[in-house]
């Protein structure tokens, strides 16, 4: 095994580069995530709340574009054998707690902004 892990992913980062490697990767991913959220306008609560008054659908656009693009990439990669979907973490479904939690979050969103 060279320095670069073999396909298909997800890669055993921890086994290959140790905990430090895994944490570094996680940090970099977080960095990119935070940066993108900020340039998307997620740092501004008025903009976020405007979403729910139908004036500015930025939240919806950014989130949904993100989901759709990632989805196409994930299943495309899975079809090509680059990513092993079976080893990807899929949030387990707890249907009703999820829905109730979602409603509570929605209320919180409006009351508190983000």
């Amino acid at each position: 095994m060279g320095w670069f892990p073999e396909f298909p992913g997800p890669f055993p980062i921890e086994a290959m580069y140790g905990k430090v490697g895994l944490y570094l990767v996680a940090f970099l991913i977080g960095l990119a995530f935070g940066y993108i959220l900020e340039i998307g306008g997620f740092g501004n609560s008025t903009k976020l709340a405007a979403q729910f008054y139908l004036k500015d659908m930025t939240v919806f656009k950014v989130m949904f574009t993100g989901i759709v693009v990632a989805m196409v990439l994930i299943f495309g990669a899975s079809g090509l054998g680059l990513l092993d979907y079976n080893r990807v973490y899929v949030n387990p479904t707890y249907l009703w707690p999820g829905i109730v939690g979602g409603l509570i979050m929605g209320f919180g969103f409006i009351i508190g902004g983000f």
């Binding site: 609560s45 139908l54 387990p92 707890y94």
Partner: protein, 294 residues
């Protein structure tokens, strides 16, 4: 700032109260790893395509609504980029439909180079006595999958072994992937041929700690069958070896007085009686990579 404090407070309140107040509800309607393609029983590609189309339609709707509510007007100059983007997305989604998701056969071919040697040097064939030790090992959870026909299974099977056909395995593997990391999967058939096929499917579906019962049920019976005698085992409770054994790997080498399934003493051997059997231990439990969400 206040918001973040509130967040912490909310999370704190949750952690403090969830176990005492609402844990029944919080743990209710658990469906495990349950995905939209399974919900609608359509291939993944079509779900992806449908979501892409709906998303593009919703984006279009969102911009109409924004304009109506007096928000920012969309700039004309961006229209062609948006159209291009939508086109690329739909094309990519169509490609996902066409490529499709890998079949167990595809998945096996990707990993065959790495995994075939395990079969050839018999690293994943475990001795019946090793399986027995793990059944009685409290730190390891053993899941036994019996891939024989229903008839043979009804005649005799190891206690707690679950019957499953080869066709059902890819579907079942989703459930098996949810098992805790200390789970040992053992597949078995009368001989080894069919169990080896089952092993390939499960390994291709990314299950770890999958092993094959060496020599199959025939070997299990040869190891643990108790000779009938006057005091202990009744004649009616002992399978009789067929001599000479019938040809073919997947044929039972024993005759059974009745279809008693797991009621034969050989289905639940006493580990103390057989603790002297020597074997080469082959099981190496691997711990899966920990994952989680936020």
């Amino acid at each position: 700032m206040f918001f973040v404090l509130g967040l912490f407070a909310g999370i704190f309140v949750f952690g403090e109260t969830i176990d005492s107040l609402l844990s029944d509800f919080w743990n209710s309607s658990y469906m495990g790893r349950f995905t939209l393609p399974e919900l609608f029983s359509v291939p993944t590609g079509y779900v992806v395509l449908a979501i892409v189309v709906v998303a593009i339609f919703l984006f279009w709707g969102a911009e109409k609504v924004e304009a109506m509510m007096g928000g920012e007007k969309p700039k004309k100059s961006q229209t062609k980029y948006k159209l291009a983007g939508a086109g690329v997305l739909i094309a990519a989604a169509l490609a996902v439909v066409i490529i499709g998701q890998p079949t167990p056969q595809d998945r096996w071919e990707w990993i065959a180079a790495e995994k075939q040697p395990l079969l050839e040097n018999r690293a994943v064939y475990i001795h019946p006595a090793e399986l027995l030790d793990y059944i009685y090992n409290d730190r390891v959870d053993v899941v036994m999958l019996d891939v024989r026909d229903e008839t043979d299974y009804n005649l005799f099977h190891i206690e707690d072994a679950r019957r499953v056909s080869l066709d059902e395995l890819p579907q079942l593997s989703e459930e098996l992937l949810q098992k805790p990391a200390n789970t040992l999967f053992v597949v078995m058939s009368n001989g080894e041929t069919r169990a080896t096929e089952a092993w390939k499917i499960l390994v291709a579906e990314s299950l770890t700690n999958v092993y094959i019962l060496e020599g199959g049920i025939n070997n299990w019976l040869a190891t643990f069958n108790i000779e009938p005698d006057e005091e202990g085992v009744a004649v009616a409770m002992a399978p009789v070896p067929v001599t000479p054994p019938p040809p073919g790997d997947e044929v039972l080498h024993y005759k059974f007085p009745a279809a008693l399934g797991a009621q034969y003493p050989a289905a639940y051997p006493d580990p103390h009686e057989f603790e002297d059997i020597e074997y080469t231990p082959k099981v190496k439990l691997e711990i899966k990579q920990a994952t989680g969400g936020g």
